[in-house]
Symmetry: C2
Subunit: 343 residues, 2 copies
């Protein structure tokens, strides 16, 4: 027995072209036959085979998403935003998170050249050289998250890390703290570098000296926050406030503070970056910079769709900065901001 569109055509006694026209609302069809075809399709529970469809139309209505990891709410938020917009536009998303650099490149190649997806959203805080080469080939619409590639025709979306870090640091300065240290993120990470720059900028503009010892490297995880804090607090000259490049490290710092019996913010003030869920539950509640992650996902998808649907490509390198905002808690020394925490 024949299948799909052909079967419908046979039953209705028309050609497959007519059926296709009805199903896609392309071209004129007599009302009566249209109704008939629609009805039969319904009865047969017909769903077009999307592979055949994609092959013919040269588009799949799916977007590839490549993330470096699949842990913590950060990625979750991004996916959520992506999915939201995808749903609204009836698109599907193909998700991939490769642990090895090797796999990541492989997936990228498959997405760019395999015809599986119409466009790719790539989150890569650090760009491997080979990856850059692939990106330059520019076969398909591409949106980059959290990095600035410096390649024309590609859209990249970033948080305003610089501004966010600067504002947070300025807030600490306004509290009157002079000895401010920072636990930074990985050197290769774009966000981390920008945040560090923002931090430096704020200090510089306020003529505050930043000793080398006040810059300790972190790895964006709890452990490094813990050790970073420990290290800072064992300096002969201790900082009065600490800005951590992300909230995860703050968790470690809180733990360290607890084990050293240091009070936050009385002994040392702390500010973070990201505004993770947990930050609101800390005691004292964490002062941090809100990073609009869901918004980032949404924006990414919207851009991709714009490129796919309207065949639009930016002439030059095109970067969107999502504005960040300070979330005031009690950890910086502000009072009356511990109401919500309950841990």
């Amino acid at each position: 027995m024949s299948k799909g569109i052909v079967k419908i055509a046979e039953i209705c006694g028309v050609s497959i072209a007519t059926v296709s026209r009805v199903l896609n609302n392309s071209g004129p069809v007599k009302e009566s036959t249209r109704a008939r075809i629609l009805q039969i399709a319904q009865e047969l529970n017909y769903k077009p085979n999307s592979n055949a469809r994609s092959l013919s139309r040269r588009r799949t209505d799916t977007i590839g998403v490549i993330l470096p990891e699949l842990v913590d709410e950060f990625f979750m938020g991004v996916i959520q935003g992506i999915n939201e917009v995808a749903n609204r536009h009836q698109r599907y998303i193909m998700l991939s998170s490769s642990h090895s650099q090797r796999d990541e490149l492989e997936t990228m190649l498959e997405f760019m050249n395999g015809g599986r997806v119409d466009g790719v959203i790539l989150m890569a805080p650090a760009l491997h050289h080979t990856m850059k080469t692939i990106l330059k080939s520019n076969t398909r619409p591409l949106v980059l998250l959290n990095c600035r590639p410096g390649i024309a025709g590609i859209v990249s979306i970033n948080f305003d890390n610089f501004q966010g870090a600067k504002v947070a640091t300025e807030h600490l300065i306004q509290h009157g703290y002079q000895k401010i240290a920072m636990i930074t993120g990985p050197e290769i990470n774009n966000d981390a570098r920008e945040r560090f720059r923002g931090f430096q900028s704020a200090l510089k503009e306020n003529n505050i000296n930043l000793p080398k010892s006040f810059i300790v490297p972190g790895e964006f995880n709890i452990e490094s926050g813990y050790y970073g804090f420990m290290r800072l607090m064992s300096l002969p000259e201790k900082p009065r406030a600490i800005f951590a490049a992300n909230d995860m490290m703050v968790l470690g710092a809180y733990e360290a503070a607890k084990s050293l019996k240091l009070r936050i913010p009385d002994d040392v003030a702390i500010a973070g970056f990201d505004d993770i869920f947990l930050g609101r539950l800390l005691n004292p509640r964490l002062t941090t910079v809100h990073a609009p992650i869901v918004e980032m996902g949404r924006a990414a998808m919207q851009q991709i769709l714009k490129m796919v649907d309207e065949k639009w490509r930016p002439e030059e390198e095109y970067t969107i900065h999502l504005s960040t905002g300070l979330v005031i808690g009690g950890s910086c020394g502000c009072i009356n901001n511990n109401g919500n925490n309950f841990v």
Copy 2:
């Protein structure tokens, strides 16, 4: 200019069949031509068009994943497990999370009949009637997460909610508590029901009475935990211990306890279910039941692949129970278990 396989064939002066054979390692090809073809393919940066491939082979090497939501670490963990196994087997995953019932059904139909995926992993704590009908049609391999559909030919994977809840409750009982209440989950939620059953079972076996007032309904979120706790603690006869059907509600309970100035576990002991990341940071650290979420994702993918690759289908209804385990913290009254928390 010709494309893909045809182009390679032209350049190498062979037929497309030979090229295909080389690329797929199917059938014998002279070593020299094989080498040549491989080299040209490499030079051209050739990637087979997967739509054409899927159309012809009638398989896509991608698995559809439908989740009810995309929030919190629970789903993240499941996806992580799924992705892990998918990567290992060179499969792609198509992710979808629909907010409306309507969309969910639509996606399911598309996945089942649209030829986009080889199989589907569906997480649906509650099964709508229409959905059941779709599942029964049984067009493609299907693995269900967190629900028992009672349909032959379908694999479902569940946590051992009953046992987990029972063990947790027994632990509370062993502490000597007699007045034990529970904040339950949504009635329609399968996990929630099972956990409640386990709770009841433990009490019954220990001949402990369970007054109606000690069962308060929750919604698996922070707020309902908060209000559930409040309600229990405003009873004329207050419980000495509370078992919450999930950890999220425990967060609310902790908050409520704090605002009521009740100490945990001295005034009221608490145990939860899920073992969320945050639980380990609570003060006192939460006693809860570990739900192996990543493992669930892995198992789901493995089952699907088994069905797809080996064309295997269970004769009857086939349910896998993932064993849960008690995680002892300080919230139940056990001492020396507050070491790790630092909030």
